[in-house]
């Protein structure tokens, strides 16, 4: 039997189209892989029949000549996306058993493009976390292990940890993720795969359980840059149901791919040289600069002076929005309800106390605090102003360069439990990812190499607003030069 679960979306698509194997074979092999990898806890729901049904449609379409862009490709869907009739819980007990009667625009777009669904992917509760340890379903285990002879369980990163682990372990050729402050890029870096967060507004947020509305953005995660381009093309597009959706045609990103950076200037931000970041990370960054120079680009030093304020700004704005967005989980209309004592308020308290986990409660409290009377100006309003300055930093930098190259995360994957007790250490994971989120810019992580312990490290490319194409091209240039082919050894 041909091993299909190790292939890229591009390979599966082309092989299926030329008749090397059927869509059903693809779906069956991935279904089997999913069923055989429950130890990783990557999926919260498995939907093998959905994948098979889409595969049969694809096989019929190949005969009738009615193929769609993603015909024959089964995907994993992050549990933040509403999927009609299939449990959608955002990794939270408060939505236990919730089956929406509607399909998110992005997952609907993928379905219309012919993709099947393998299942729903585990994630940090309400996408709040960088290690997947805040999930009500328990943490996802990274398929990767350190090469130090130990057997420490590692995080796949978060919040799209189930998504990242699924791709890295061959449990899906591609998946959806969402990125609010690094939730696609950091797990992609931790697991040696690619992932892109497009410009804010490229993908509709309709039907995606909201975390922080002004930051949330869906994007694909897959093995290769080309696979990401293919998926993003199917996911993106204007949606009148989302007022912040961009009314622009979707570019043909796959067709526009190359690895030619001639005439491009790549900005290297001085402020991203942060104390305490391991040498290996900085060494990979320097290597990345050389790869891009080799692809024809000219590296230039740039300054993003407000970088050090990005993380504190993010941890005011995101919790503020979340505290309001999560108010609807009150036990009245759907999800979990605890009757409690003391009437309506008692029910609210009991429901939310039982339904939300510790990290979600922490962020609701932070968000409530920064919005409350007397603190609003000092925190939320100031954070909004700093956010404007951070955007301005990027605007100014992009007058000197076309793309920006940075590390994706300040470390490789860490062990489960290592940072759980220290929220600040956990939040620092996103120090390189958060500025692009605040500025709404497209940003991508591609694998660059392994650290001394044999764990993947990622490089981040940030582009101008709407320049996903430039980001993908630089990503491909790195991918071709890095030649990253490491795979976790199967232990699950």
């Amino acid at each position: 039997m041909t091993e299909l679960t190790r292939r890229t979306i591009t390979e599966l698509r082309d092989g299926f189209r030329s008749g090397d194997f059927s869509a059903r074979e693809i779906a069956e092999q991935f279904n089997a892989a999913v069923a055989g990898a429950r130890a990783l806890n990557a999926y919260t729901v498995e939907t093998p029949n959905d994948a098979l049904a889409a595969a049969d449609t694809a096989d019929a379409a190949r005969v009738s000549g009615d193929l769609q862009p993603l015909s024959g490709i089964p995907l994993g869907i992050k549990d933040l996306f509403a999927t009609a009739g299939v449990d959608t819980t955002a990794g939270s007990n408060i939505l236990a058993g919730f089956k929406p009667p509607y399909e998110s625009t992005v997952s609907g777009n993928l379905r219309r493009a012919g993709a099947g669904m393998l299942g729903k992917l585990n994630m940090d509760e309400f996408a709040m976390g960088s290690s997947n340890e805040t999930s009500a379903y328990g943490p996802v285990l990274s398929p990767w292990k350190r090469n130090d002879g130990g057997n420490a369980a590692l995080t796949p990163g978060g919040s799209s940890g189930g998504s990242a682990a699924a791709v890295a372990a061959g449990l899906a050729p591609g998946v959806t993720g969402t990125d609010t402050g690094g939730s696609i890029r950091q797990p992609a870096a931790f697991t040696g795969i690619s992932g892109i967060k497009p410009t804010y507004g490229r993908c509709s947020r309709w039907g995606i359980v909201a975390f922080a509305s002004s930051l949330d953005q869906a994007g694909p995660m897959a093995r290769t840059v080309r696979d990401c381009a293919i998926l993003l093309e199917a996911m993106a597009g204007f949606d009148p149901k989302d007022s912040t959706s961009l009314d622009l045609a979707v570019p043909r990103w796959e067709a526009g791919l190359s690895s030619d950076l001639k005439g491009k200037r790549v900005g290297i931000p001085t402020e991203y040289r942060i104390k305490g970041v391991p040498d290996e990370i900085n060494a990979l960054w320097d290597q990345g600069i050389e790869w891009l120079r080799d692809a024809g680009a000219e590296p230039v030093e740039i300054s993003l002076p407000h970088t050090k304020y990005a993380l504190p700004t993010y941890y005011i704005i995101a919790p503020a929005e979340a505290s309001s967005n999560l108010a609807r989980y009150d036990g009245v209309r759907y999800g979990r309800r605890e009757a409690g004592e003391g009437g309506l308020e008692g029910m609210y308290s009991a429901t939310r106390a039982a339904g939300f986990g510790a990290e979600v409660k922490r962020r609701i409290m932070i968000g409530t605090y920064v919005l409350s009377a007397g603190f609003y100006d000092a925190y939320f309003n100031k954070a909004q102003r700093v956010r404007a300055l951070i955007k301005q930093d990027f605007r100014a930098a992009f007058e000197q360069c076309d793309l920006i190259l940075t590390p994706t995360a300040p470390s490789a994957a860490f062990g489960l439990g290592e940072k759980l007790a220290d929220p600040i250490a956990m939040y620092l994971n996103d120090v390189f990812a958060v500025p692009a989120s605040l500025a709404g810019l497209p940003a991508m992580s591609v694998p660059g190499g392994l650290d001394d312990l044999g764990l993947p490290l990622g490089l981040q490319i940030i582009g101008r607003e709407l320049d996903e194409q430039g980001v993908l091209i630089a990503g491909l240039a790195i991918e071709e030069r890095a030649g990253f082919s490491a795979r976790p050894e199967k232990w699950w």
Binding site: A210, S213, R328, L344, E345, L371
Partner: protein, 491 residues
């Protein structure tokens, strides 16, 4: 009758007090769909049959502004001569309640759609001297909440989300009113303007217009006192009752040496009193912040021009036009107070009747008849076209004014046109001097004594002879001809 221009004062134990009033009117926007969803808005539907996924705040749902609601609010602002803010923004007002599925109301705190404007009122319709301009502070657009039903289950409350998400305009006045009469005049005028514009049906019984009443008292000339806010008052009469009650209560508190607490109160129409709902200390912290699901609202020239072009003639302009046609100030005011009356009357005028005569007839005859029948002008059994025909028959002398009343009664009963009734019942007025003279001769002959007295100087008997002649002619004689002939015969 009290002089409407004299300042309204309340006499307390220690002297006179002035009352200061500001109103926040919540007006439900007339539109087919809700402010941020496409669910229907009709009143009186079965519970929870007009609820979209957005209204129920399902996970991942997003608001999309309904352009028609924005348009209605902008038109309203224009009708109140208010500043229209080309750039405005929606904010979230956060609080938990079972009738508020999102856990926040989408409103506009920081950057409202409409800024300052003015409502011109007359506290006495017959007295131009009672004119006053009441300032509008702002108008913002926001979502209404759902409704709780407490009588459906012994231990639980039911939630009806039909009203949830319906667009409201909150029209905030300046604290410019100084008496219950002014507040009443302001509310009636505001309601009239909204109904002219068509942006709110003004139906206070169904709750599509309700007011939060801010009241404080002070010694005339002093700075503003501490105010209380009485929520959700749903009739003009109740608003006036709240003001009177609150002012007296506050005066009592102050005169006993106490202090008025800044608090939210509720009106109990049964007991005709207000009671405390929550004090400033227990006030919610609403944690307002800009709604990140929505972009700022930016209005372009074309949109504003379209809003302006769609405005009808407004009550003040219409009243002036009517006055210029020769109508009395009172008639002009009464005829323009309600949009239905004004429209009906405008149609009547379009049939070429004499404006002054028509105004007098509508105010005296038509209003009387409608009152008697207990129907609104929209349900009037006589159309403006038929009424115009009746007025023309009087104007050209075909029937007399008194016959016209008879004809009108028959029109109300049968719905037949005036001309047909006049012809059918032979009510046409006669100027036939032969017939009139014959009757006059007979009457003068039968009343020789009175003729004697008249000629001796008892002039007031002339009316007696007119009456007798008209009676003999069954009311159909032309009164002018009767007068002429009588004078000639009596010498």
């Amino acid at each position: 009758m009290a002089d409407a221009t004299a300042p309204y004062r309340i006499r307390g134990e220690t002297g006179e007090w002035e009352v200061v009033i500001g109103l926040e009117v919540h007006a439900q926007v007339t539109s087919n769909a809700k402010l941020f969803s496409r669910a229907a808005t009709a009143f009186g539907a079965e519970p929870n049959t007009q609820v979209s996924l957005v209204d129920a705040a399902m996970p991942g749902m997003l608001p999309v502004p309904n352009r028609e609601c924005i348009r209605q609010a902008v038109r309203t602002g224009m009708a109140l001569a208010a500043t229209i803010n080309r750039w405005s923004r929606f904010d979230r007002k956060n609080y938990f309640y079972a009738d508020l599925p999102q856990g926040y109301q989408i409103s506009q705190l920081y950057h409202p759609l409409v800024g300052e404007g003015t409502v011109h009122v007359l506290t006495d319709e017959k007295d131009e001297g009672s004119a006053k301009a009441i300032g509008i502070e702002r108008i913002h657009v926001e979502q209404d909440a759902g409704k709780l039903m407490h009588d459906q289950h012994p231990t639980m409350s039911y939630v009806d989300l039909n009203r949830c998400g319906v667009a409201l305009m909150e029209i905030v006045s300046k604290p410019d009113m100084r008496s219950p009469a002014e507040a009443g005049a302001y509310l009636r005028k505001l309601r009239a303007i909204l109904r002219y514009v068509g942006s709110c049906d003004g139906n206070m019984e169904e709750g599509s217009m309700r007011a939060d009443v801010n009241v404080s008292v002070r010694r005339p000339g002093d700075p503003f006192g501490t105010r209380t806010e009485t929520k959700n008052v749903n009739s003009v009469r109740f608003v006036q009752a709240v003001i009177e009650h609150e002012a007296r209560r506050q005066i009592e508190v102050l005169e006993e040496g106490g202090a008025v607490l800044q608090e939210t109160r509720l009106y109990d129409p049964g007991r005709q009193e207000t009671r405390s709902l929550r004090s400033k200390e227990d006030a919610h912290d609403y944690r307002y912040f800009p709604d990140p699901d929505l972009l700022p609202l930016e209005l372009d020239d074309a949109f504003l021009a379209d809003c302006r072009a769609s405005l009808p003639e407004l009550p003040d302009a219409k009243r002036k036009r009517f006055e210029l046609m020769g109508m009395s100030a009172y008639n002009a005011s009464v005829l323009t107070a309600e949009v239905e009356t004004a429209s009906w009357f405008d149609v009547l005028l379009s049939h070429g009747v004499d404006p002054k005569q028509a105004a007098n007839w509508v105010v005296a005859e038509l209003f009387g008849a409608l009152n008697r029948l207990g129907v609104s002008i929209a349900e009037c059994p006589v159309s403006p076209a038929h009424a115009a025909e009746l007025l023309k028959l009087v104007a050209d002398g075909t029937i007399s004014g008194s016959i016209a009343k008879t004809v009108f009664e028959k029109m109300l009963e049968s719905g037949d046109p005036a001309g047909a009734i006049v012809e059918g019942e032979g009510l046409r007025q006669t100027s036939d001097t032969g017939a009139i003279d014959a009757e006059i001769e007979r009457i003068l002959g039968a009343n020789a004594d009175k003729v004697e007295q008249y000629r001796a100087g008892k002039q007031q008997l002339f009316g007696f002879f007119v009456g007798q002649t008209m009676k003999a002619m069954a009311g159909k004689a032309n009164p002018q001809v009767v007068n002429e002939r009588l004078r000639a015969k009596l010498g």
